[in-house]
Amino acid sequence: MRSTTVVRTSRRTFLAVASASILALGLSACGGGGSALPGGPGSQSASSSDSTASFLKGAPVAAEATMADGTTMAKIRKRGYLIVGGSSDAPLLSQKNPVTGKYEGFDAYMGQLLATYIFGKPNVHILSSATQTREALLQNHTVDVVFQTYSITPERAKQVTFVGPYLSSGFEIATRKGDNVSSLAELDGKTVIAGANTPAIAKIKKEAPKAKILTFDTDPACIQALTQGRGTAYVQDSITLAADLKDHPDFQINGKPFDTGHMGIGVPKDQNDMAGFVNTWLTTAVKDGSWTKVWNASLGTALGDTTAPAPGSVPDVYTPKA
């Protein structure tokens, strides 16, 4: 009786190992150089740590008086680190480097800049938040702020306070090389891929009502779907697409960016002191050139120079009371 059990176990183990290795073989065979699976490690170089440090040099630090006892900022200071809701798989925006384990990109650096404003050091814990859960994470104070290309919409502004805009971007249409599409209307009746989290979906429905919209949770999944021909075009904000095109020379961008949208920093609705504080920080960072330094260290490498959007310049964002 005993001996059969032993035989069973070893056979199970053998099978588990065998099936895992079959899968691994299949994966490497399908890889073909690039990452076949979405979310696979990208081709980010680990050498960007030099530029990471440079934007923090001379970064603004808040005066003690602005973080008096009893304020939200004092609580964060007591904790010792800032909890930021963000992504870990967005190239140039907020991507966890698989080699160093550090977060790289515009949103990640802006979070570090805000932490430096509070502590004098970039003490940040990034909590990987899904686009579906950002409002809830802010409302129940799991995170202090959200830096995640968080598009400002009136519906969302009812749930959270937006400070910003800190980033603006239009949408663009990406296709495989050779497929020329000049406008959304031309995509009517075709299959269009879009990120599950973009306000672009409403726009596509309006301009091309007969288009079939295919959405995936992450940008790498959308890219993979476009590569494999699951759709004619991929509509996404120009910042994300610029980052994607760096790794995918077989894609092209068609036409001009349309429907400029603005992104804000999400702050809990019930923490007006924090919203004011973040707003002061953002205004300072834009004015003293810190914003531009962060841009140059991240998105600027793919998109070139730009000017920072003016905080408070769009509806539905926090405006300081006079």
């Binding site: 056979r11 899968l23 994966l27 399908c30 409002e135 809830a136 295919l214 494999q228």
Partner: protein
């Protein structure tokens, strides 16, 4: 609540898609599971080995990994199905492993003497399975199969991650517009709960009807 009522058609479409996904996959899993279970108890060693390998392969790798593999890796090998079809195939293959194990436990519950008696009367292995063993085995596993069906229903939500517009995906879309995650996902959760309850009660009903009184 307006977040839910304003988007009722969208959510109903998602629910219908979930239902279709659930029913198609369950029948796929049931048929495939029967075959695998039959192979696992067959007298042919290579069939037994293949069936065991199948069960171990599908039970030891998470469903999401299978979905991603079928949706994103298979096209690299030149095999591309529509997303919904892919989801049905993967769910059927995956749940078939669990169905097969449930059915096998049922087969083991049928007394050895019955199969021996059938063989003594000259029935072939297939006849033996079809007329003697399986009818009794299936009656014994109505409840375990119901559990597999409920698990399958919950698992259909993973299809949302690969672009299939079912209930969870529809809820995501509505939430994107309304930014009301709690209302939207509690609503979707209640719909899933209702589905599971209906399946559970139906399973209980069937079990009482076909129970073997010993």
């Amino acid at each position: 609540m307006p977040a839910l009522t304003d988007h009722l058609p969208q959510l109903t479409d998602g629910l219908l898609s979930t239902l279709l996904l659930m029913v198609l996959s369950f029948f796929g899993a049931l048929i495939l599971g029967l075959l695998v279970a039959a192979a696992r108890v067959s007298p042919v060693a290579s069939l037994r080995g293949a069936a065991t390998a199948y069960v171990e392969l599908f039970q030891n790798i998470p469903l999401l990994a299978w979905l991603l593999l079928f949706v994103f890796a298979l096209p690299e090998a030149g095999i591309i199905f529509p997303l919904f079809t892919t989801a049905v195939i993967v769910l059927s293959l995956y749940e078939a492993a669990y169905t097969a194990e449930a059915i096998r436990s049922g087969i083991n519950s049928v007394g050895l003497g019955q199969a021996e008696a059938a063989r003594a009367l000259g029935l072939t292995t297939l006849q033996n399975l079809r007329h003697i063993v399986l009818p009794q085995a299936l009656r014994a596993v109505v409840q375990p199969l119901t559990n597999v069906f409920i698990a399958l229903t919950m698992n259909t939500s993973l299809a949302a991650a690969v672009g299939v517009v079912e209930l969870t995906h529809a809820a995501n879309e509505v939430n994107l517009q309304e930014a009301q995650p709690i209302a939207v996902f509690v609503g979707a959760g209640i719909a899933y709960m209702a589905l599971a309850l209906v399946i559970g009660l139906t399973g209980g009903f069937i079990e009482r009807r076909v129970a073997i009184v010993r």
